[in-house]
């Protein structure tokens, strides 16, 4: 996978370049300022952009805003956001379109899981951090529709929301994939179909 990185911490950026290089990926561009991302993408034509949420110039959510601008200009470019902490407000708008991931930065330390997630996003799928999914799947009111799910259903919905395939979800319990498809359907109040998957918890909650 050819990657453009947007990350202002030199230590983290270099670590990521090394990690990806060691596993057969190619970092074709790396910028430290959100304002330079579009130019890097235009020039390097990557398969994936990996972007830190908080970057210069403002050190707030510049990376997330740059990601939205990239999505508007190159709708097919997969984007993987990295964040230092759990937050869900940047998900809306990006998450429902596929080819999008949002992970906590320290997930890079689980190298295999991280590379899996990266490949999934690069292939047009999604990868949402388990901690962020958990925050989205916690019922906030007594009459929250999430309260109606059994704990197993909620667990399955969480894995689907992280971006795992039916087969991967089934693999967690050594099921054939049919029951997980059934539970996915049961876990999605907005969808009665057995084939339509709820793409992400974020999308479903919004």
């Amino acid at each position: 996978v050819r990657v453009v990185i947007g990350e202002d911490s030199a230590l983290f950026r270099e670590g990521l370049v090394r990690l990806l290089g060691e596993h057969g990926h190619e970092v074709v561009g790396a910028v430290a300022d959100a304002g330079d991302l579009a130019a890097a993408v235009r020039e390097c034509k990557p398969d994936l952009a990996v972007i830190d949420v908080r970057m210069p110039p403002d050190l707030t959510d510049d990376g997330a805003r740059a990601a939205q601008a990239l999505r508007a200009e190159w709708p097919a470019l997969p984007i993987l956001m990295l964040s230092q902490h759990v937050e869900t407000r940047h998900l809306a708008g990006l998450v429902s379109s596929g080819g999008f991931g949002y992970l906590l930065k320290d997930r890079v330390l689980r190298v295999d899981d991280f590379l899996d997630a990266m490949r999934r996003v690069a292939a047009g799928g999604s990868a949402i951090d388990p901690a962020i999914v958990a925050a989205l799947l916690t019922p906030v009111r007594d009459d929250d529709p999430l309260s109606a799910l059994t704990s197993r259903e909620r667990e399955v919905l969480g894995l689907v929301a992280e971006g795992l395939s039916n087969a991967a979800v089934a693999g967690r319990w050594c099921w054939p994939s049919a029951p997980s498809r059934r539970i996915c359907a049961a876990s999605s109040p907005s969808s009665g179909s057995t084939t339509a998957r709820t793409p992400t918890a974020g999308c479903w909650r919004c």
Binding site: S9, L11, F12, G15, L16, R18, L19, E22, R54, Q84, H85, V86, K105, D106, V108, L109, R110, V111, T138, P139, V140
Partner: protein, 142 residues
């Protein structure tokens, strides 16, 4: 009397303003601490972990050192999670199975002060043996 009333009103306005400033300063300080933890310590720990993973990648998986590095990185991950928890505090998701009997100590008093600083009011309902509810009413600008 009207002059006294005016003076009293001015004094109260001043008290409210200074309370707002104190609350704003505390919030800013907390925000700065959170940012320092995220951008400083946490980011450094992740970078060290990536370094260790890079070393590990060059080792054969059946070596003892390979497993040792797994453990070292796991320790780092736990430390990062702990830092994240400290930076954000723990948010309770449910109230209905509490023990009640809460009294206004430092925490609730400072909450009450913050609400009061924007002209609002905080009420506490906490019968012993049942849940605790805290209600904050803040007037909107209109």
């Amino acid at each position: 009397v009207s002059r006294l009333r005016l003076e009293l009103r001015d004094a109260l306005t001043e008290v409210n303003a200074s309370r707002s400033r104190l609350v704003a300063a505390a919030a800013e300080e907390r925000h700065r601490l959170e940012r320092d933890l995220h951008d400083g310590a946490q980011q450094h720990l992740v970078s060290i972990g990536m370094r260790l993973r890079s070393v590990q990648h060059r080792l054969r998986a059946d070596l003892v050192a390979y497993r040792d590095l797994d453990e070292a990185v796991l320790g780092l991950e736990q430390t990062i999670a702990e830092l994240r928890r400290i930076a954000h505090g723990v948010r309770p998701s449910r109230l209905d199975d509490g023990v009640g009997g809460a009294r206004a100590g430092f925490g609730l008093t400072s909450l009450r002060d913050r609400i009061a600083s924007v002209g609002g009011e905080l009420t506490l309902h906490s019968p012993a043996g049942a849940g605790t509810s805290v209600r904050a009413e803040i007037p909107c600008a209109s």
